[in-house]
Symmetry: C2
Subunit: 168 residues, 2 copies
């Protein structure tokens, strides 16, 4: 008995996120909220790539990225390309672009930073010092973060199917 | 410009998890720890299925499931089938089976339950009362849980690339 091929049909109308840094596709789905989409998605993780050795790729039917989601992807995978598909054809292709200033998307973990003040909540703002590898600085308390130190803000998931708790 | 097909090659040696309940593939990857595998994975979410309407499917190169991972999948997707692949052929195919008693995998959220005692930590144990839809009962405090109320125990991820924090 031979293993069946998984049929990956071309998507009719939707988004392809390609050249994601290897291993980041699932984090991107979680962060952007697409992990809760009821639509068809195909995801390749650690796919062989001529240019980057390995890469991830996400195809989502019937979903399009907003500006916030584009920025989230740019932080995690600065080489990612976004293709918009309509009627099976690529109608627009663009590279993600890290903004010079990242607003709201990232938390400052410095407890004494004014963005963590209980009384006067101020939205976070980070200056991008270096793009690859990423280095950002809180514009309020000047604390510097590398990619692996970043904590993202995230809207509360409206309907989380399974609650999970990490037991240390 | 036409959108390229995502080439999903058959896997050489590894595991195919098919007939996953629609929308549960990413939770299964997270719970089983395969989300941190460096190996090639292809994932289909909300794939049209004759039998179930929609289903998820996971193909992982070079990885095999242990008993704990099989049980985790059985809890989330009692209809899942596991195929072991070697040399591009299915060498074994089996359905997951929910055990009568689930040990260690799930937390009892009753704070006064002896499994949450600080002094005498006892491993959790749940009796499976009903399989579909799932209903389980803590053998120590008798509290009953449905699938959507379950909290899973999970080993601490050794190397989490991006820490994420949910800001409510």
């Amino acid at each position: 008995m031979s293993e069946d091929k998984l049929k990956i049909e071309r998507i009719h109308k939707g988004t392809v996120i390609d050249h994601i840094d290897a291993g980041y596709a699932l984090t991107i789905l979680n962060l952007t909220g697409f992990d809760e989409s009821p639509n068809l998605m195909t995801i390749g993780v650690n796919v062989p790539s001529k240019k980057y050795g390995k890469k991830d790729i996400i195809k989502i039917e019937g979903e399009f990225l907003n500006e916030m989601q584009m920025q989230q992807i740019s932080i995690l995978s600065p080489n990612a390309t976004i293709s918009l598909i309509d009627d099976y054809a690529v109608i627009e292709k663009k590279k993600v672009k890290i903004p010079h200033i990242i607003k709201k998307l990232i938390l400052c973990t410095n407890k004494t930073c004014i963005t963590n003040s209980q009384k006067e909540p101020i939205e976070t703002e980070f200056l991008v010092l270096e793009e690859k590898p990423l280095k950002i600085q809180c514009t309020y308390c000047d604390r510097i973060y590398k990619l692996e130190e970043i904590m993202f803000t995230s809207k509360q998931k409206t309907e989380k199917k399974i609650k999970q708790k990490i037991q240390l």
